[in-house]
């Protein structure tokens, strides 16, 4: 089907590509054969059965349920209980050091005992961050349907490296910031900063499609939902 395209030495590739693209668009595509084309027949073998139960749940309940599916650890509490819940979770794990972003509500970490705590000033080397066990952040937006934490480098979320290198991530999510679906995500967050969507701990299914929680990112995810 035609020879490989010769690249012109005279014209820049930019101009050449744009010209080829423009020329390629002259002929319009034919339309689809029918309205039903490519749509699975409901109720027929192989067609996904429709599941409606999620529609009736509150966003916080749904968020929790989906997170649990990802094997994240979830706690729900009132605002004043956050410090004790975090301290309790810390005590249940073997954690000796933690990093926090500069803008984190310090009252949240008041009750954690016996660990080395550092505040990220933005200049700590990756090597240093990699040697820290845990990170605690807030969360400015979360998505219930997909169990997603949306981190956009807010003051209480920090830069990307601090939620990546430590093996334990503790994230405090106020239920007021949970949106239902992905569809209006970008109405709630700005892309001026880098965005990381986190849906459960790091995972792979690369070996025989068996899901393994934990590869390179934090292998342990703890989410505290504050009502």
């Amino acid at each position: 089907m035609g020879a490989t395209m010769e690249t012109s030495g005279i014209k820049s590739s930019r101009a050449a590509i744009l010209e080829l693209v423009k020329a390629a668009l002259r002929e319009k595509s034919p339309s689809a054969p029918s309205a039903l084309a490519g749509i699975a027949t409901p109720g027929a073998p192989g067609t996904p059965p429709s599941i409606r139960k999620h529609l009736e749940q509150s966003v916080a309940d749904l968020f929790e349920e989906v997170l649990l599916d990802y094997k994240a650890t979830v706690r729900r509490c009132a605002e004043h209980q956050v410090p004790s819940v975090i301290a309790e979770l810390f005590a249940s794990q073997e954690i000796s050091s933690a990093v926090i972003p500069d803008g984190l509500d310090r009252s949240w970490i008041e009750q954690i005992k016996g660990i080395e705590l550092v505040v990220d000033d933005g200049f700590r080397s990756t090597g240093e961050l990699a040697s820290i066990d845990a990170v605690i952040t807030g969360c400015a937006c979360a998505i219930a349907e997909t169990g997603t934490l949306v981190l956009s480098c807010q003051p209480d979320e920090g830069r990307r490296a601090i939620t990546l290198l430590p093996d334990f991530h503790f994230c405090v999510v106020r239920s007021s910031v949970i949106i239902r679906g992905v569809n209006d995500l970008f109405k709630h967050v700005s892309v001026a900063n880098p965005i990381t969507l986190i849906s459960g701990p790091s995972a792979t299914s690369d070996i025989e499609l068996k899901r393994v929680e934990g590869v390179h990112g934090p292998r342990n995810l703890f989410v505290i939902i504050v009502s």
Binding site: P30, P33, S34, L36, A37, I39, A40, T41, G43, A44, P45, G46, T47
Partner: protein, 249 residues
């Protein structure tokens, strides 16, 4: 008799599986539908089109449209042939730039129905009064399932047959591996798919496999017989003609 349909039997049913067509005539007559057989009819052109010889298919499209011109309704005994007409005829006719052919094709295409689709969708019938006291599994052929979306028509018709026990076919939605010339061009792959399909059929423990495409059934039954499984195949029309007055068809 209030309705008259033109029967499109399709080329290989005409030659190899005439009893399917005779059964369809019997069922339609029983439902007070008068049947015509325009004898200029041959083939829908699917095999040419699907193999990559679309220009040759164009002449067969023309022939089909001429053969069935003036029909009130056309009932076809193959889902894949019906899908060919419905999905590709207008485009193929348009290639000729023959306005008369194009408008005749436009007029004809919506009048062409697959047999089970015609019974349930147009006549509104599910119980044709058939009796077939056997274990049957239904294989939804790909074109009937995904192009025509008539899975439920066939299953409802079978469900209404007295004495018939419909058993589940595992992996029913998977293609049997026929695919027209695919069966010989990629014969090793076709055979592998066929082996899995016949294994599912045997596991389903049915006596008979039913479908709405004799082409797929010819492929499936070829292996069921070669391997001595004792499972038979039947076109849906033949099942629906069972137990009706008039005995043998």
């Amino acid at each position: 008799m209030t309705r008259t349909v033109s029967l499109f039997v399709s080329c290989f049913n005409d030659m190899m599986f005439p009893k399917t067509a005779r059964a369809a005539v019997k069922v339609l007559n029983k439902l007070n539908v008068k049947v015509r057989f325009p004898d200029e009819q041959t083939c829908c052109g699917q095999i040419h089109f699907n193999t990559g010889y679309a220009p040759m298919a164009v002449s067969l499209v023309k022939h089909f449209v001429e053969s069935f011109r003036g029909s009130d309704e056309v009932v076809a005994l193959s889902a894949s042939c019906t899908a060919m007409v419905r999905e590709h005829y207008l485009e193929l006719a348009s290639r000729t730039h023959d306005n008369e052919l194009i408008s005749r094709t436009e007029e004809l295409v919506p009048k062409v129905f697959e047999f089970s689709e015609y019974l349930t969708g147009v006549l509104g019938v599910t119980d044709v009064g058939a009796y077939y006291p056997h274990k049957v599994s239904y294989h939804p052929t790909c074109h009937s399932l995904r192009s025509l979306h008539i899975y439920h028509s066939a299953v409802e018709l079978l469900g209404a047959v007295k004495g018939l026990e419909l058993v589940d076919l595992p992996y029913a939605e998977q293609c049997c591996g026929f695919g027209g010339t695919f069966s010989v061009k990629n014969s090793a792959m076709s055979t592998a798919m066929l082996a899995d399909k016949t294994a599912s059929i045997v596991n389903a423990r049915a006596e008979t496999v039913v479908a709405v495409d004799n082409s797929c059934l010819m492929h499936i039954s070829g292996a069921l017989r070669k391997n001595g499984t004792g499972v038979s195949v039947m076109h849906l029309a033949e099942v629906l003609a069972q137990g009706m007055d008039g005995g043998e068809i």
